[in-house]
């Protein structure tokens, strides 16, 4: 801080308008390469989304002519209609599976996280690390025994074969994040509630849960996107008639009405339809997500 050059000190406090504009222009000129680089990288990153949506509108011949432009096959949106009919049952089924799994994760996760954050009991440290340690167990390690276990329970081809393991698998991360969030709530709020005779369950539902809503939404979103696109485990435990959307697009069955040349267009229409719910959800909760991620909490 001692190295302030005399030149720096001589900068007049009030500048004329011309100087301000000139400064801003110079500032922008310095930033132009930054904007340019960001726009180029951004276009490359988002190109698959554009390509997907546009290819669903073309037919096979139009795609071969030029994969980059926007062309419309007649009748408009025909492949989107075909893909919708192909996917609508799977969309409903996957939605039910994802919603019940995420509800289970958030509800049980909040209950346990509240217990660890607010209650003193024997074995709390040990039990917390028993849950935290699960974060170190990769999914590939448990994949095979989990499949055999679900099969042994007679749950094959049943949505519960996904819902129950999903709820279990989401606990560790949710509890870890929720616990630190609940610990951040001012003690006075709980103290006031306790003086009024509130039980733990009441404090959980009336104080902790409303104040943790942003982090609950962030955790829910992360789980929803993971489950929505999950392919490997569902394709092991569910048959084709019980497909999730990821299975339906991963093992695409060509409908008789679609000739070979246009199959790829219907596939891309299906990819777009599968992506739309995630994009919509994301745009709705964008604010929570960006602020949750930008809070600087993620580091070691």
């Amino acid at each position: 801080m001692t190295a302030i050059s005399p030149r720096e000190l001589q900068v007049p406090r009030t500048r004329t308008e011309g100087q301000v504009v000139e400064r801003r222009n110079r500032h922008l000129a310095v930033r132009v390469p930054h904007y340019f680089a960001l726009v180029v990288i951004g276009i490359l990153s988002l190109f698959p989304i554009y390509f997907m949506a546009v290819t669903g509108l073309k037919n096979g011949v139009q795609l071969q002519e030029n994969p980059f432009n926007i062309a419309i096959a007649h009748p408009f949106g025909t492949f989107y209609v075909l893909a919708w009919n192909y996917l609508k049952g799977d969309l409903l089924r996957t939605t039910l599976i994802v919603v019940s799994s995420v509800a289970g994760i958030v509800a049980l996760g909040m209950l346990s996280a509240y217990t660890f954050a607010r209650m003193e009991f024997f074995g709390s440290t040990f039990l917390f690390y028993a849950i935290f340690g699960l974060l170190l167990i990769p999914s590939f390690l448990t994949l095979i025994p989990l499949f055999l276990e679900v099969k042994g329970m007679g749950l094959l081809d049943n949505p519960l074969a996904l819902i129950l393991p999903y709820i279990a698998g989401g606990q560790a991360f949710a509890i870890f994040v929720f616990r630190s969030s609940i610990q951040g709530i001012p003690e006075e709020l709980f103290e006031a509630a306790r003086v009024d005779g509130a039980s733990h369950l009441r404090m959980l539902t009336r104080i902790a849960a409303p104040l943790c809503r942003p982090i609950m939404i962030a955790v829910a979103l992360l789980n929803i996107t993971a489950f929505w696109g999950d392919y490997v485990f569902p394709s092991l435990v569910l048959g084709v008639p019980q497909s999730t959307v990821a299975m339906a697009i991963g093992n695409f069955l060509q409908p008789a009405a679609v000739p070979d040349v246009n199959l790829v267009n219907m596939q891309f229409a299906a990819y777009t339809i599968v992506s739309i719910p995630m994009i919509v959800l994301f745009l709705i909760f964008l604010k929570y997500f960006i602020s949750g991620m930008s809070s600087g909490a993620v580091k070691l």
Binding site: L46, L134, P138, F140, T142, T225
Partner: protein
Amino acid sequence: MVREGVAGRDVSTPRSSRVTQRKIARTLKAWAFLLPTFIFIGFFCYWPAARALEGAFTTWDGVSAPIWTGLKNFEQLFHDSLFLGAFEHLFWWTVIGIPAGMGASLLVALLIYRLGNPRAEYWFRVAFSLTLCLPGIVGILTWQNFYEIGGVLDVILKDVGLGSFATAWLANPHTALGALIFLGFPWVGAFAMLVFYAGLQAIPHEILDAAKVDGVSSWRRVFHIELPLIRGQLKVILVLSIIGISQNLLVPLLLTQGGPNNTTWTPVLYMYENAFEYAQMGYALAIAFILFVLSLAFALLTMRFLRSDNERRKRVA
């Protein structure tokens, strides 16, 4: 079971025992709250994990009872050229993929951070975050199409006059593994980018102002101020990337299944095929065991290495 109300009945009960009883009651209540979570993770996390570790030492077809065979699976694996090749592929994937992914995410985070215009910064973050909501399988299948003969990649090569290089990228043994690693170009991870950006934002203004006054160049600012100060974020993303890349089953499973000419096997894919194509559960679990131990050790080593480096710096300063 001792209940709180019972303790109050006897006036002569020592105070300490009443406190103990209250503690027991509190503990039981807490355990009751935790019970649902533990039922779930007991059934669907601990039990399968224990079975996995135990199964690695057995011969098991998944139907009849497993037969304990000790280290036989592991001995066999060390002579299995497909398995050893799979680790070589994973090595290249890690060595190329992680620096590329982290570098791209860091570059974008730095560029956005340097814009100096909060609104522009916000909208660029939104734009790059959009890739996060594209389901992984959709991105992979889209890239599969890019790699096809006459696909987007070939069209671009032809447009820049390199059309002779066009090939069936995923079916050519010389290009298949490279194509899988290249998938997802320009590899900007939205999650990593947001974490890095958050770290950069947290750098105190005093430090940056001091640097500006001292006339520190842009490059020096990156390497001597910004990167050291987001060390924590770099570390967490590095560890997550190491763990994530060893688990990447979907890309080779959907696109190449180990082919062509066995050039794209990865350990986790080889595990999957052994279990569900050849019904060799014990052998597959031995692969899972080795991969688990190695990736865990590697992640822990990374954390350890980076920490000690950090401490050394602090001492010098």
